[in-house]
Symmetry: C2
Subunit: 159 residues, 2 copies
Amino acid sequence: MEARIEKIKQQLQSQGYKLTPQREATVRVLLENEEDHLSAEDVFMLVKDKAPEIGLATVYRTLELLSEMHVVEKLNFGDGVARYDLRTDSNKHHHHHLICVKCGSMSEILEDWLGPLEERLEKEYGFTVLDHRLDFQGICAKCRAKEAENSTDSSNEPA
Amino acid sequence: MEARIEKIKQQLQSQGYKLTPQREATVRVLLENEEDHLSAEDVFMLVKDKAPEIGLATVYRTLELLSEMHVVEKLNFGDGVARYDLRTDSNKHHHHHLICVKCGSMSEILEDWLGPLEERLEKEYGFTVLDHRLDFQGICAKCRAKEAENSTDSSNEPA
DNA sequence: CTAGTTGCAAATCCTTTGCAAACCT
DNA sequence: AGGTTTGCAAAGGATTTGCAACTAG
């Protein structure tokens, strides 16, 4: 973990930016919550534990800076808040989301199923893919099970 | 076109809603701009030509209503504004976007390349797919050509 | 030192909401 | 006539920005 912070520090400094305590605290929060998709507000809450005097604006500024430097990726699901993910490596972060419209849960498929499609885009459309986002909205296994037990079966064909 | 409006009118009425002149004007704007992904503000501007007295709030309310009725689809790219697309049919609207990070242009691939993936999700994850969104970010053919002519070639490997 | 950075509060942007008046069916 | 819908303006939530004070390198 210290190594990753050091690396980020280098990246910042190479662009003339400083790794302030606030920024370091923010990065640590992101490192400690790599599995989640934290919103700026989430990050703010968590950072305040480490550095209570930090302001929300600073968190926003830091996240934006890190985003520009491709240290984090700014994600956007349909819920009106931006979410931030630490990038695994400096380049690709290909994963897919399964968003359940019933319970709001979100899981990930980390496999990259899109390689072949990207090749087609390159060939058929002349489009160079830098990144992609694939979100599936639907009903998760858990909610489906719940539905099945509650009502015997009366949802699919109201016609 | 009149037929499609009539159909939407029916849908509204079947739920106890009315097709008011403002709503009709809004739907007409959407029909006349099916190719675009209009924001609420865009729609508002265009509707004002037909019905100058309309308010922005009404446009928002209408779009939300149409969205709930699955007449339009509310799209969300990362730019802080919701965009609205008329649905081609009442159920599936599977298309993919190619968003160019250089010029901001967006084109669509209407083919549905994801059928097989959705089957895998159903089988391997027990996840029922209702809808999906696949966005590719990258560089479009036009910008790539422009890049190639401007600089001879010096962008890929800064290391 | 001194340019980059911070915290606060005010400002902005998009979207939603309260309410009385106006309207469709 | 009665519930819906409208327009306005004010409220709301997320994010940004101005600015004087502060600090990392």
